[in-house]
Subunit: 235 residues, 4 copies
């Protein structure tokens, strides 16, 4: 096997373990994938495998159209078609995480976008965390997981949202997907999304008509961490 | 001792420890049982024993009518008669778990069924998690634990509920019972029930009049994991 | 030193560590005491000592009027006078725990007794967990900690409450005290009180006008674990 | 390097680790600083560094005007200018902690001061935990972190608040800053602030119109732990 693919499998395995160890995943409810530099091959967790038994060898490699599978012969995560749709539509992302983390899922079940109430949120998401539309019956009954991906892509496209400014989304009645420049960044955004979801839930409990963070603070915090003028961290 | 019974005691001991380690049990508030393949002998946690001191040798074996006890001479869990009623009425289940897990118990105390707000729920429970009726005074004053079991069975029978589609129930003012194809599956359903109870509680806080998950998504998710057309996990 | 006193110091030290390890205590906010069989000498945690540095040798021994101190020369917990008042008034108790555990303290801050909504509660408290009256200014300004104890005792006496049926109380604006047959039992009741407080808080959130547990179930559950007809646990 | 500065770096490193281990910090969202006895040099966490990789050698030393940096060449926390403003205005404090801890941040996002509902709060904060004013656009767009510090200082000055009686503040839409006589005390106040924020949130849920703790109890508890008449802990 190609060294780069071997590295990707190790990286994706570690990102899956980090997701589990962060407390965002109960049982086997979560999956992380990563993409090669050429955007051709996706590495993803196998379906329904206990995290305790996950090794880089079990990580599944597939072409982005799902037609070819390399290395591990295990079935990929049932959500793999959703990941593929996102990778094909958003060329700048190379890692995706999906969880049923408690607070983000509660917002998804409530069918509500997470408002930007503070700088913790603004440091990672430029404005609300969107909730896409509900699939129609025929979109669920055939090619369900493909259609979840297509729905997210259509929602971002119709509203002109930038996946680098919104590194995650809520699927209504389901839960969050998040992404980033690699598998680890996708997991980090899953952690942020869950914490922001919890803070917003508590904020609304304290103040049901809470004002959003002013735009000028949102701009400041997002640009402090992202883009050409960022100055957070070590250069 | 028969090897199969020895295996069952080990399996039931491990399932009790898993329940404890999952954080669903405070002090000694929980018990898991398992049944032999022939549905004749039940293995269950002894009453009021500290989990730190639980060993397979202490697991109690009894006939399903409670008339005979084998091996360990400790008193079985005080809830043993409830387990027996469920095993006799629901022949497809071979494991039962009972907890006072926080959020599931809160729903039970509120006397409310847990509505199906999302796919996390639909992956394990086909529709709401039911709450059965409250026992009457005379049913509590004699044969209480037997009558808890009879009430659950009568509730499922009267409403035509299938214990494979609803692998758990709330006893009002008390807490949840869950079950499955063996002791480990019963514990897994206890974990799912608690997480689903927490998510539904938070969802209702965010959106008091939240819509239920559409039926076509409920059908999709339940059948994706259960029954002849399931495709989640490794075949 | 007398062996019995040495045993008591070890028991009280372990009970304090159990309180800390149960997650009920932040920083140094908690204390547990125990009493000798003759109800003459109290062993209690020293004031403001880090749990990591607590050893049986540091446990303070005092006479029940506080006039004499034996062994360790450290200052006893500032709440020691409260413990002494309770021991003198309630001769059947030989262990007391005080915490600022989160949910019990929230009920105390709200000035509300914890209603009995379920069997988890009924297994340990016969009816609501009471909240005693607020101290008046002069009772706070001199002999504050003595007066906290006197207030609890007066409240139980005026209402004819039995400290064996109500093994704990909330001091309004402050937090819970719990007790039992020894220091370990007091800690166990502190754990139960906190969990019951959390469940009741969530129950009320789901159903603001929730019915209390019917009396006949309260009677059944309390007597199943306490008194001459108890049958829970190993005899 | 000067021994005192070396000790300060060790102390500040340990305080940062304690903040992380207390569960108040997700990812890299937090920082603690400490000051030399002469109030001349500040030691602070470097920006965006993983706690797992933090060592005393990486702690950044700067003069209080930020003009000179000693030892480590890493970029200091982006919040360093806020710390400097606080140290210059409040000469009695020698440690500062900043977090995005969940409940304190929820109150900050709600734009509400945390009312003093109980003795847990009164033991550390003399009355409500204040929320300062929101910065205006021009204060955010240039010298943002300096202006956060100036705003806190102006708020305390305008209202005549004493930083020793109020060892922390909420920045609206952002989160808490806390302080104390050294870095460790600042972290301890961050822990207290978060717990007090959680208790107040739950208290308000149980009783939306909850009375404040009476002044005579507030006075008693604060003075029991602080000032010339304190008697808590070992003298």
């Amino acid at each position: 096997m190609d060294t780069t693919l071997q590295d990707l499998k190790i990286q994706v395995c570690e990102a899956n373990m980090k997701l589990k160890n962060s407390g965002l995943v109960k049982l086997t409810w979560g999956n992380v994938s990563g993409l090669t530099a050429e955007n051709k091959i996706m590495a993803i967790k196998p379906s329904g495998v206990d995290y305790k038994e996950l090794t880089p060898e079990k990580i599944v490699l597939t072409s982005l159209d799902g037609a070819e599978q390399y290395g591990s012969e295990m079935a990929p995560s049932s959500d793999a078609p959703t990941h593929m749709e996102l990778y094909r539509a958003f060329p700048s992302i190379k890692g995706i995480a999906h969880t049923h983390s408690t607070y983000a899922t509660a917002w998804a079940q409530a069918g509500a976008a997470i408002p930007c109430y503070g700088t913790t949120h603004a440091d990672a998401f430029y404005g609300e965390v969107p909730v896409c539309d509900q699939l129609r019956q025929e979109q669920v009954e055939s090619d369900y997981e493909v259609n979840v991906g297509k729905m997210i892509v259509a929602y971002f496209s119709n509203l002109g949202l930038d996946p680098e400014e919104k590194p995650g989304v809520l699927v209504p009645g389901h839960g969050p997907f998040s992404w980033g420049k690699d598998a680890e960044a996708a997991v980090e955004n899953a952690i942020i999304l869950e914490e922001v979801a919890k803070m917003a839930c508590l904020t609304r409990g304290l103040q049901p008509c809470c004002d959003l963070l002013p735009d000028y603070i949102l701009n400041k915090h997002f640009s402090r961490k992202h883009g050409p003028d960022s100055y957070y961290g070590q250069s």
